[in-house]
Symmetry: D3
């Protein structure tokens, strides 16, 4: 990896990095987030009377829409043309949590890590919003990049060695 | 707390909850997020040659601006008139992390928990973005509400008993 | 009703009407839209293998979110604080259509007719988008205000006498 | 046409369709909307004292701007780079209506049907907003795609056989 | 006036100032901008073949819409509920310029100076955009607050003594 | 230069110009703005107790983010994929002003003059906002394009001959 913060110039001032000379390549990023909750909250979302309810659908759609808003939210992100966004939410009854995976793709000059992270986070925040009337103590955890493909820096896969 | 997901109607369909009859009261919410990183990444942000750099300022501003965008990002959130937003970022050299606290205030009919959580999260994501060239393995953790004041449900303070 | 286009000044120039002196009253608007489609398209949405699918949920959420974006889309609309938004989508198998009803509420100085109309329309356009791969000929019809309560002009209910 | 709703995955969950492998081709879409009104409303817009007024201009500009906001409004729409947007509004004194045609172009991987439909609809809603003080009964009708060129599915032209 | 930059805390960090305790009062701000151009550019806008053209209308509408977007553009601005926005554009043939006046009103807890300045500026930038094909040298000047009413700091009127 | 306002059609109606047939070339624009203030205001920003404060950082970030919002603010601007944005703010103690330079780059079909002008202006407005509590009389001046490269019209450099 680089040993410089590329989003700062030599004076330490923020800038949108110049990617004009970068190749247009196919890029993909996969990120995750987990939201932990009370068992009864998970039960309300995933089974019982609201089984067919809109909770997971709302979070999924929020994640997809947030991916598109990433350059509005993250100041130094380039605007870009996402070619694919998927957000999967999987209830985990052992851990009383919902696990969220977001996958973004692009053919372009910059990576889509921030888009995938933003999608996963927005989906998790939306779950919090939908359930906060019954469980204000929910905690979002493990928001992290899992894998990244394409671009000059190539393939990156999370291993046990990272933070 | 309620024992119903208020954001769903009796058919399980998402709705923006009707708050027309709620009082306009002063409300406040305090939320946090933590971003864990390599020691050398933290050093780059917080000391050394980029000491005066824009990294923390950019994250702080991103958090404040994201608080205002909450109803655009979280589908069932009401639009509201934030009267105060503060985002504090504190490097923690023992844990190799930056701790983020966001505080939002409002005089209105709905709480500002989602605004505070969105602000903290956006600040954390912005730190990730600013540093990802040197440390893709950073992990955002402990995104949670710490305290909430005002409104019908009254005071709520995180204790050890929650998730 | 008025006999002047209030959104134009005496020179015919567009303006955002001054509502500073208007009372804060509870207001409500109900609007509809219909989207007509092939029988097999309706079947795909409402029954059969995608019965549990996200099509109607996506349209419902799009409508709710679009209501909040109304002042960004309709140039002379005032920003306002919606206190409630509901969007109902009902398949009509006799007419091969989906009927959409949107209800918006507010305690404020301006009506919410545009918000209800925008919500109904965005839900209809989203249905078009979700189904256009199988049915490009769908037609959106009958986008209209059904009822309006509150404000100086008072109650208005669609009757057979209007356009 | 396809016999599947491409915006849903095999589980019926909404996704932004993956267009990464699609060719960049020139694409064009033409859509329409009609807004029906009282004769005196049409007269106010199109002739008489407000002949030079901003009503039609405001609707035209709203349509053009809304075309650019399409991916913010329609959840599964890809962000894209419109290369041309035109919105034409034509008063029809026989039918007491204004007919709206929107044409969008793009060189890219996805079609621009939704952009053209969104532009036509936003222009119609803006006309409603500008005139609602004098005519709340206006009805928007015939929101539909007229023609589509380019892309893998090729040329599509509305005929009498559709819905 | 204050002798402190209220948008910074005691550590020099940006914040959205806390206005929770401020009164809701009627507030108004009037701001201006001037755009200077070649005589033939002004002639194209204001007379001759494009006399009925949309140039001034587009700039006026852009100004009104930008006023509503102010909290999205200016990081520390509070979201607020504008009750009135007017933008006037007056060709000045002596100075080869267009003079722009924007007036914003609100009943609320914060002033609307930034909204009026943003409206005037956006209108001027839009004129630049509409005419840049024929006159890239246009210069925007004298962007300034003219008057401010309401709020704790009371009436402020530009005099010859300011910058 | 052209002798027509390209953003109007033959009837004088606004349109987003068709650039479908234009080449994708590297383009760059450099624009400036100046904000004049009282000496003590400049001192507060640039030296003394707030030397390390966020004022200039906030303005810089606002400028970069506004560049990305240009097509939302300027009605006829095409959406585009900025590949680089830089905003420099330089205190000028002789003139009691801050000089702002914004540079935008793109590989695409349209120029980025409006993005550079919008970035410079938003940075200037943000400085106004951050300092208005102490100096309401600040004036923004000399908002202008300095240089433009790339595209069919080629190189353009401001000289003494323009407005």
């Amino acid at each position: 990896m680089a040993n410089e913060l590329t989003h700062l110039d030599e004076k330490g001032q923020a800038r949108m990095v110049d990617v004009s000379a970068k190749d247009h390549t196919e890029r993909e990023a996969r990120a995750m987030a987990v939201i932990n909750m009370l068992p009864q909250t998970l039960a309300m979302i995933a089974q019982g009377k609201h089984k067919k309810g809109d909770v997971l659908a709302t979070a999924r759609i929020a994640g997809i829409m947030a991916a598109k808003r990433t350059p509005d939210i993250i100041p130094m992100c380039h605007p870009l043309l996402l070619t694919s966004v998927k957000v999967e939410l999987t209830p985990n009854f052992e851990n009383n949590s919902v696990e969220i995976i977001a996958i973004c793709k692009l053919v372009g000059q910059t990576g889509v890590e921030m888009e995938a992270l933003t999608a996963a986070t927005a989906a998790a925040l939306t779950l919090y919003d939908m359930c906060k009337a019954v469980d204000k103590g929910m905690v979002i955890d493990q928001v992290q990049l899992l894998e990244k493909k394409g671009g000059k820096s190539g393939h990156w896969l999370r291993t046990g060695d990272q933070v």
